[in-house]
């Protein structure tokens, strides 16, 4: 259902790169930290505290999203959100995004305009002051969005994965398992002969729309990363591949054992342990410290035989692995 006549909505193969760039850049917001914005060979971003935090994460059509389920706006929003979460997980303030788009030539201009809107709105909602400062356009048969996010530590040390200490509380901010629930709904209810079909809201059970939204337009607690760092988080990371896998990584990096309490993992603890893509913040805090938005889910102990326990039982450290878990045939 195109939102405007095709004559007003050319395919990208019929546009020059300059025309497409202008269409995208006219939709970006001014960024607080930008010294020189888009349009030159590179952008210049303020790094007042003398260092810059940088991360990159890519969404590829097929393994990471399906156009039948994901609008241009959703794709832009999610590409921003997942990268902002990695900056937040260091305790930093996001300052800028760079966006490399590889786009099929038969895609419509309106899709890319909405993608730019999603990027802009996610920044405005999740990390005010951060905006797209640069990018690159390429053609590809596979729609690919590679975003790089930059951030500023405001003079603090980065909060890494390796600082958890025995006696710390293990806490989380944000959802656990909700995005995976949304993905399960898509795979279970919105496929026809294995192929994705558009979501029909009338076919959603009560409560399912929240899960779908968490999958398609995640709202990670970006601002709480900085708050956790100021409060004294000893370690922190973004839960992108499921709590079990990511808590296992944090335990390994810190050389400790993390003991989780199942009752603290919500109504669907297995989904909370295995489901990825929520981009919650997992952090450890000294005894007695718990900043707003975080809830305690366990404790840090001296390293035992097993790096990860739940109700004192060892937990297999696994989650989503794009190389093992994705099959372009069975999709």
């Amino acid at each position: 259902m195109p939102s405007r006549p095709d004559a007003d909505d050319p395919r990208l193969g019929d546009l020059s790169e300059g025309r497409l760039l202008r269409a995208i850049l006219s939709r970006t917001a001014p960024a607080t930290h930008t010294i020189l914005g888009p349009g030159d060979d590179a952008a210049v971003i303020a790094a007042p505290s003398g260092s810059v935090v940088a991360t990159t994460d890519t969404l590829v059509h097929g393994p990471d999203f399906r156009l039948a389920w994901t609008s241009g706006y959703d794709l832009g929003w999610k590409a921003a959100a997942v990268n902002l979460a990695d900056i937040a997980a260091m305790g930093a303030q996001p300052t800028a995004l760079l966006v490399a788009l590889a786009i099929p030539r038969d895609l419509r201009l309106s899709f890319v305009e909405r993608l730019a809107d999603g990027l802009r709105d996610a920044c405005a909602a999740l990390a005010p002051g951060c905006a797209v400062v640069g990018g690159d356009l390429a053609t590809s048969d596979v729609l690919t969005v590679a975003v790089t996010a930059l951030g500023d530590l405001e003079g603090r040390q980065a909060v890494t994965r390796s600082g958890a200490r025995p006696g710390d509380a293990v806490a989380v901010a944000g959802e656990l398992g909700l995005a995976a629930h949304g993905l399960a709904i898509l795979f279970d209810s919105f496929r026809d002969g294995g192929s994705p079909v558009p979501v029909d809201p009338a076919r959603l059970a009560p409560g399912e729309s929240g899960a779908l939204s968490a999958q398609l337009r995640p709202v990670p607690p970006i601002g709480l990363g900085r708050i956790a760092a100021i409060a004294g988080a000893t370690s922190m990371m973004d839960v992108s591949d499921g709590l079990a896998l990511d808590a296992g990584r944090l335990a390994a990096a810190s050389d400790v054992t993390i003991a989780l309490r199942r009752a603290a993992l919500g109504d669907e603890p297995n989904r909370a342990l295995r489901g990825g893509e929520d981009h919650a913040l997992l952090a450890t805090f000294p005894d007695g410290v718990l900043p707003p938005g975080f809830r305690i889910i366990g404790e840090v102990r001296e390293r035992e035989v097993d790096a990860l326990l739940c109700d004192e039982e060892p937990i297999e450290i696994r989650g989503w692995d794009p190389y093992r878990d994705w099959d372009s045939i069975s999709g």
Copy 2:
């Protein structure tokens, strides 16, 4: 011709993301400016002068390279070089690269290892102290390398495209048209029924190997960007889409006319005007200033009717446009 038995060289679809990451990271070099390197949610890079220069550029299999012509090493080298050139064009010192790889599952591990070697060696050769500090791995049917480069201005202002002033000399450092010559050799001599076939060095005429090398493993004058800035360049940019198009962009951004001299454009002035991908540095300098490595090719004038002249004749402002010039069928 695989360099080792297939049993020792698994396909990427048979590896975990962790295994592949370790294989890549074991091949990165330490970076002078890195405060926190790969392995956490994000990297932390020094930005001692309080700002960071950032750019991103993507190479997509098909429009940007062909595996029959391009080794993993070449691809890594070129992905680094084209991004380093954009940092240099701002007058900055490259400090770090982030690399987002989207890789088909049937590609061999050795290809990605050699790609990492090419990234490392290009940094070491072109921008010592700069190295890969982070990245992302995704699967895709289309091999895609999106690199983000960061740089430091060392307290100087960025040299933009908009500062050229009437009376300035127009100068260039690096090759003009050589990479396009290399591409023409590939298309003319190393295809079979339209499909790329590997280069046979025995079939190259004298002088052609240099052109091929310029196309596959470009050596832009990265260090001269900083030198030009210190010398007082009034404007600068990277010539990636051909001199005519890029000089036209600089003239438009500066609201001036650029008058080139054909005799200064080498033995193949048309190729120099239209050929892209050399990543030479185009800069303007005040009268009497010409830093090492630059040669004068014209002058800046008050804006006339035409923004770009060559021997006083108007030149059409066009060059390589990935949206118009690439056709995945005719290739």
